[in-house]
Subunit: 203 residues, 2 copies
Amino acid sequence: MNFLEKRIREDGIVKEGNVLKVDSFLNHQMDIRLFKQMGQEWKRRFADAPINKILTIEASGIGIAAVASEYFDVPVVFAKKSKSINIEGEMYTAEVESFTHKCRNQVIVSKKFLGPEDHVLIIDDFLANGCALQGLISIVQQAGASLEGIGIAVEKGFQQGGRVIRNLGYRLESLAIVESMDAQTGEIVFREQDENQAGEKIL
Amino acid sequence: MNFLEKRIREDGIVKEGNVLKVDSFLNHQMDIRLFKQMGQEWKRRFADAPINKILTIEASGIGIAAVASEYFDVPVVFAKKSKSINIEGEMYTAEVESFTHKCRNQVIVSKKFLGPEDHVLIIDDFLANGCALQGLISIVQQAGASLEGIGIAVEKGFQQGGRVIRNLGYRLESLAIVESMDAQTGEIVFREQDENQAGEKIL
């Protein structure tokens, strides 16, 4: 078990309907020391990639991406959720379906901040069905930028998002992949990750 | 001029209608090195305050608060914008009027993450009419927590938000206070700040 899996076991709460609440340390209250560990680990996994920009999406990706970026020493751009129509062609846009809020959002990134010269690492807190991530990838494509990889904190391995992204050939590094969870017992099973990938392994 | 005023002069764009665009380094693309300087400066200004939690509001406050919190070594809680009705009394709620988006939002913070034992520093990117800040202060009050102070990156000194908050006796530290700006010439005038307050003065 790595540091994040351990923390999820300790402080994550499994709810009916395959809901995993990690709001005490990840996406409402934020444990910045933990975010630093996550940043270090992504830097270790993407050490060979020429990343010059991090892209994330509001709201809960922002804190993680901001702290993680210190290990890459690059700026962060966050995609904004917007209901307004794109004006003057100044924005890359993508449609994103939200599982939690059961609505469709348009996400936008200003063309000023992403272009063909960029080598992008996408960072987000959660990967489940993958809609938000697909929107971010679409924006990277529209910009003509190179997508160097994707760093996710918690992936729900039993939903399709991660598999689709890996099938498409993208380099996806999820720090914790939940294989299954049980709301009755609270048990959480993680996918075994390559030993070499688990620098902060806790024995 | 301190480091932030200098950066606003260099990269901020004044638009008609008293709009100051700082999206290239503050609230769309985020310059994390700058955020670190801001965190250091707030830590210097609030060195004597027993802060154990930082409170901010999605979306653009989150990155600044997350990076700044490293200098305080405390967790960050961000208030979420929500259209849904508060359920089961688990949340502190406040109504916030958005100048930019011209709509009313409910902001919520889980009662789990803020209580009478907390000594709170509020951090946000902008202070103009002060609606978002008033909502956050209301949430601190509802929690029975102590408000140790408020750290703002850019205050529009010609709008009422800052004056109201100072009149109410709160300790408000804005790193840059714009007294006036001119969309024709692009000129930005900052309020003179106490020399002793400007550790990073650029001569």
